[in-house]
């Protein structure tokens, strides 16, 4: 019994190790997307979770803020914005010695003006002579900064970087690309299961073969068709309907296969009975098959929707890379190239692109897993 407990403890430890290893990358991205973009560029995201020491440079206000008080010209102000929560430990007035003074001490500049800073960043800068410069002098501070997070990156990414538009575009690609195959494949799967016609078995074999045919086999011929279509009718085929049909084509085999497996498992007696009562195939499909297939539809919907939402290649080849058509993944890839150093944009953009899949994942995980398992058993 004791031995079993030790192995159980080891199991837990090992599993915990895997879980941490798997969650850290996504967690880091999420934390980073919520950080101030300047901090993000100079410190690791893991430092943002605890109170950290930061070195910062601020400039005091200049002549316009000065008042005359007790024989001195005085400039008062605050280095931080309200509620920053930062606590200053030391400060300095030259870049050579940024920790020269402890907070509260008085520091003298070369022009005999004096400055002091308190813990929360309020400074008093005094001089006997009038201040004549528009800009104030620089202060170098070392402060303890508590964890702080902001939604600024999201505002910037959604509205300025075009991720918001790309999000809409991806939705406009993914929804029909999921529903159209679901509609046409449910009829197809029904016919393959319950209707008798010449070549049915061959067609089924073709579907099973198509399951594994790589997308790449279709790219060049279809791109040619699309280009010819555009030249012939004067409308660009590289557009939303074009990409819907491409996704429909590439998802057709697996959708049909999964639906057929499901429909085949339904009791045949029900259909026979309905037929005797004079129901047509369409009646049977609408009144019996459709209501019974809702769980299967849910699984297949999720699989195909995630596939279309996350796709890059199809959207890259069959859509123009212009703001009104570019999809999220293509936009992200573009940003990786053009804004490779702006991690606040990349992390936030990536997280925006993940919101819908993650929502579906957590809300409908049961159906997602069911679909995957059903698809894998044979495929």
């Amino acid at each position: 019994m004791k031995k079993f407990q030790i192995s159980s403890f080891l199991s837990q430890l090992l599993l915990l190790f895997f879980v941490i290893l798997w969650i850290i990358p996504t967690f880091g991205l999420f934390i980073s997307s919520l950080r101030d973009k300047d901090l993000l560029a100079i410190s690791g995201w893991w430092t943002s979770l605890t109170t950290t020491k930061v070195n910062e440079i601020y400039r005091m206000s200049g002549m316009t803020e000065q008042i005359f008080e007790d024989g001195f010209f005085v400039v008062r102000g605050s280095l931080f914005e309200d509620n920053s929560g930062k606590k200053i430990e030391t400060f300095g007035i030259t870049s050579k010695n940024i920790n020269e003074f402890v907070v509260g001490e008085i520091a003298s500049f070369k022009d005999n003006s004096q400055v002091t800073v308190n813990e929360v960043g309020e400074y008093i800068w005094k001089s006997e002579k009038e201040f004549t410069k528009k800009k104030g002098k620089r202060l170098f501070i070392t402060a303890l900064s508590p964890p702080s997070f902001t939604f600024d990156n999201y505002k910037e990414v959604l509205f300025k970087e075009g991720i918001g538009q790309a999000f809409l575009n991806t939705t406009a690609v993914a929804l029909p690309s999921t529903l159209i195959p679901l509609i046409i494949c449910s009829f197809f799967a029904y016919a393959l299961t319950w209707m008798k016609f010449f070549g049915r078995d061959t067609l089924l074999a073709v579907i099973i073969a198509s399951l594994v045919v790589p997308l790449q086999m279709s790219l060049i011929p279809i791109l040619t068709i699309y280009n010819d279509f555009g030249a012939l009718f004067g409308v660009a085929a590289k557009s939303y309907p074009g990409v819907w049909m491409a996704h429909t084509g590439f998802g057709l085999a697996s959708t049909t296969f999964l639906l057929r497996n499901f429909i085949k498992s339904l009791p045949i007696e029900m259909m026979e009975a309905a037929k005797v009562d004079g129901a047509s195939h369409y009646d049977i499909f609408l009144r019996i098959i459709l209501p019974l297939s809702i769980p299967a539809f849910a699984s297949i919907f999720i699989l195909q929707f995630l596939w279309c939402w996350n796709d890059l290649l199809v959207g890259l080849v069959f859509l123009d890379q212009v703001p009104s058509e570019i999809i999220l993944t293509a936009k992200l890839k573009e940003l990786l190239g053009s804004r490779g150093e702006n991690w606040e944009i990349l992390t936030t953009g990536a997280f925006v692109s993940m919101t819908v899949p993650l929502f579906i994942f957590f809300a409908l995980q049961r159906y997602f897993i069911r679909g995957l398992v059903a698809g894998s058993v044979k495929g």
Binding site: T26, G28, I208, S210, V212, Q216, M245, Y282, T329, F361
Partner: protein, 327 residues
Amino acid sequence: MDVLNLFFIVFLGILLFILYFHISNSILDFYGKKTDRRYNFENSIRVVIFIAPAFIVLFIFILYPVFETIRLSFYDKFGREFVGFYNYRWAVNDPEFQRSILNNLGWLLIVPTLSTFFGLVIANLADRVWWGSIAKSIIFMPMAISFVGAGVIWKFIYEYRGPGDTQIGLLNAIIVSFGYEPQAWLTIPVWNNVFLMAIMIWIQTGLALVIFSAALRGIPKETLEAARIDGASEFKIFFSIIIPYLEQTILVIWTLITIIVLRIFDIIFAMTNGEWQTGVLANLMYDWMFRGGGDSGRGSVLAIVIMIGVIPILAWNLYKHRQEQKI
């Protein structure tokens, strides 16, 4: 295009297909019910209505392209003149192609194996602890994320800053804290492939995990308990009972991930774009679809090489299907 317009088109597109099925079938129902003699005729029309859209799409997007790609591989870059095996000879002698083939083989060897292995181990571990389902959820989560999204996540981990600068990439921060020099991971040839594969393993382990979890539930509890009472160690149980029991599942998962890995494109396209010797066939093919105005001959050859990789799996699936039909 504004939002309303966009969603109007989306709605219209979907509605079109629903209307097609509903109107055509309703008309047929209306005329079909009038006379019984037409029953056979009605049935064959019905079959056409049911399968036509799917069949047309299947034909245009899968069947025709497969044969067209094979044809194009024997033609010049514009698809006009027959050039025999010229494109194939080019491929065999092209250093980029050779590099891609090697990389693809590396991916095929490492990713499915490790994903399956991790999936199996984690499924077993998660089965014994009370928080197993939470653990499974977390490890499964990357499956929902796009390859490009995963690319950004991992590029951030691999981020490189010069020695002396603060490292903001986790991997380099760890390396530096142990006193080593930071590395630009994605630019070190050969090894950078492994760093890219890690991303795929991170994603696909979840797939293996959920399928194994489902399969583990199928192992009879009595067998496991009997083995424990007989004093078998957990290791012994794992290797002598669980692994043999899951043999079929292991094979299925392995092939499933192999198919996905064979056409891997997004991760490499987003992370390195095939530079620093990380290119694979799918990337090279995409490149040749557009390089120099596009070369449909070379692109097609590359597609066919990818296709050849799945042919054994295809044949096996068809064989299994025929066995089932016989029963």
